[in-house]
Symmetry: C2
Subunit: 532 residues, 2 copies
Amino acid sequence: MSASAHPALQPILCAGQWRASADASASFRASDPASGAAIGPSFPRSGEVDVEQMLAAASAAAPQLAHCPTTRIADFLEAYAAAIEAEREALVASAHAETALPITPRLAEVELPRTSGQLRQAARAVRECSWTQPVIDTQAGLRAHFAPLGKPVLVFGPNNFPFAFNAVAGSDFASAIAARNPVIACAHPAHPATTQRLAELAHRAVLDCGLPDATLQLFHALDPALGLRLAADRRLGAIGFTGSRRAGLALKAAADGAGVPIHAEMSSVNPVFLLRGAVRERAATLAQELFASCTLGSGQFCTNPGLVMVTGDAAGDALVGALAQRFDAAPSMVLFGAGVQHQLVAAVAALRQAGARLVGGRAQAEGPGWRYAPGLLEVDADQFLAQPLALQQEAFGPVTLLVRYHDTAQAVAIAEACEGNLTGSLHGASDHSDDADHARIARALRPRVGRLIEDRWPTGVAVSAAMQHGGPYPSTSNASFSAVGMPGAIRRFAQWQCYDHVRDERLPDELRDANPLGIQRLVDGCWSDRAL
Amino acid sequence: MSASAHPALQPILCAGQWRASADASASFRASDPASGAAIGPSFPRSGEVDVEQMLAAASAAAPQLAHCPTTRIADFLEAYAAAIEAEREALVASAHAETALPITPRLAEVELPRTSGQLRQAARAVRECSWTQPVIDTQAGLRAHFAPLGKPVLVFGPNNFPFAFNAVAGSDFASAIAARNPVIACAHPAHPATTQRLAELAHRAVLDCGLPDATLQLFHALDPALGLRLAADRRLGAIGFTGSRRAGLALKAAADGAGVPIHAEMSSVNPVFLLRGAVRERAATLAQELFASCTLGSGQFCTNPGLVMVTGDAAGDALVGALAQRFDAAPSMVLFGAGVQHQLVAAVAALRQAGARLVGGRAQAEGPGWRYAPGLLEVDADQFLAQPLALQQEAFGPVTLLVRYHDTAQAVAIAEACEGNLTGSLHGASDHSDDADHARIARALRPRVGRLIEDRWPTGVAVSAAMQHGGPYPSTSNASFSAVGMPGAIRRFAQWQCYDHVRDERLPDELRDANPLGIQRLVDGCWSDRAL
């Protein structure tokens, strides 16, 4: 299919040009999730020719970018952040139309500023250079630091953050660029127009700042089989993926087989333990806060509390009753699309099949558009422990499974049965009566979660150097790294490189005797920002 | 097969006890590589019962070890280092008998002190705690650091370092223990008695220092299929492997499929570029040094220069002639075992099949024992570029492939055709006449190697924080980490963990307000060793 045969299809960004797909195999449009109606223009699903051209262009751009002055990279990140803010109203309107997420506070006041702020944090990390962790051993004649991959990074964005995790604007993008690698971005087809507009802003900033033309390339969708072939292409330096466990595991298998490093964030039920004293002390408050966390963004958060342990006593019954009332009274909530609705229906059916009872709300798909009536499910601890894997599958949306436990040993056993998760939370009594239980459960939970949270809810991920938005498999593919928070997230897309007796003038600036960047370096075991 | 049925088999170290294998499926003895004669006692090949008991014991020990005071870990590493030094003569004699490596300088003066020194470096890293990289964000209420996996690390040792990479004494062992994870060690069957003696010393130090009984466990060999099942066991926190590409890729596939992080060092031909001016300037010296590097330890080094680019001019001919004379005059060299000899014969046959010509030495297996007559192979650059993968396969032993190149563009193309390697070296003229060529080739080589070396040879790996003993796939499974050099190597066996609004008394010492360990921490963007 030639481009001229489909003049109505939106262009892709390939090798520095916005141009028609060379071999679109299909086309698609966004939909208004609230009505289900198709909206906006048609976008191409790219074929092998597009992919091959992007790989070639990115491979040529990679060494150029790796040798680009760091200030130019930082300038780009800041220029792009400013461009996003300057277009804030149009971007927010577009994202709202495609995702049905609220304009305020979510899109305009939270997610967009977070996205531009994250790009600026990446710029700051690039300027101060600490992410490269320079180490100099003068006696051994060795110098090492984290350096660009010298190859492109393929980024798959998720459905649930049209800005903050967008493949052309989010943390994976900012991290890969900060590490001086070109990005080949696969937009999420749930918000193509928003992604295209962001990519236009990014590409203009690329050109304005004098970065290589192919620093960012974008396709809107791929045939899944082609996506797997691309993930196994050794011309890639790394892959960043945020999405479902099924898609993530398929990409991970393809990438692993080819030795392509992949950072995949795949799923998490984010266990929450409500301890006995806390339930007695503040059942109503906990019910209110938990409901808000469960249903925030229609429950479509990777840190959504999907598995909540509540005591089996009368206070626990009261909490569950109050929570069930809130679920009963909740209106149906708009999901991102037909796929999310379909998978949620299937996940809830599987949880019910495994013995979960509906104790609040309706837990069912509704119309118009892609709606779902929130649901509160419940099992007893014994049931959970008999089928811990079946009852831990993620129901992405406004659905939470309660597990009623009867003693601390059961709670510890549940924690030990938890798969790897992004977060784990414990709520204890303010009078310290839960402290002993807290210690035992936290000890079991700690190695199984990336972020251990106390007396707060898991939704909401601060962009901080001290964040861990990551966790043990299968929540992510690698618990050593965080997907959020500069400068750590940058190192996901870098390699550790050593120079052995290399002449000073041939070293990268970070490692030269004169320390021209004036950065902190570990020199013979001591941190120093001085010249050698 | 019950233990009592095989009273002659050596014990394994399982759950704190030296005891007979519960289900040995076979037995083996070491051999004297110089004669091929079997030596020493018989060792069991363990079965599922042994493996299951070790996994259970290590899983129980892991949380205990994770909460063990760091000083006790450091004490253990130092006590073990001292015990190795105290037993130096017996250990060296045992390793010499099993490997035929020279007692001096190699085993007694280089490898053993390096091994005890590495354990002491790990102890120092544990005491000063910088490997945990503590980060505190007071505004966001977040604190994070690298922490133990909470699960055991499975370590497979290689054949070629009976001490420094031994599964019970080498860098993987030291790193995993420093990160407070128990180790399940798979000895290399080429040196079982040496490994057993080291494990006895380690286990005694474990008990003396009050670490959990199952901190170290040891089996001597496994059925390969059982090894793959073990690698895919999710009770493992990580795997460290050093060995052949074939074994490494099989383990990696098993581990990847189960989401078990694996750090595998698999193969490297360590490309060396001899630039035009250097060849003209010092052909005889280069030939002499190259021969020494190629044949050190019978060429059985992961950093052995297996692929050397030499100019096709008359000076290059002279260098190749001088080198060929050295190969011609070399005696046959003892390899570690029948398997190494067999694989070397197969690799050389494949290289010759792909067009490599023998231009020096004999390149053939010889007796008695497991000997091999060194061989120098040669291809033209065009040939190499026509079949770059076939001509890059590792011939582990005293065999080097020369590639004769005719201009800089060819040399750059060869560098670009290189797979991921541990090292890459360039030798240039002292009069700077090679500087322009150096720049072009180094730029192509840099992202493809872990350590870029100038005017030196790749054999010899300093234990330094500035080392990268690692490199892009397929030389290792992950170019972000070095297998050698504290504290970086420790982080291979750690996870990044965040605490979100956790009470001070519940935090690990590294992250508490008072900074009781007095360590450097990144607090709100600034390094500080002060209390908050």
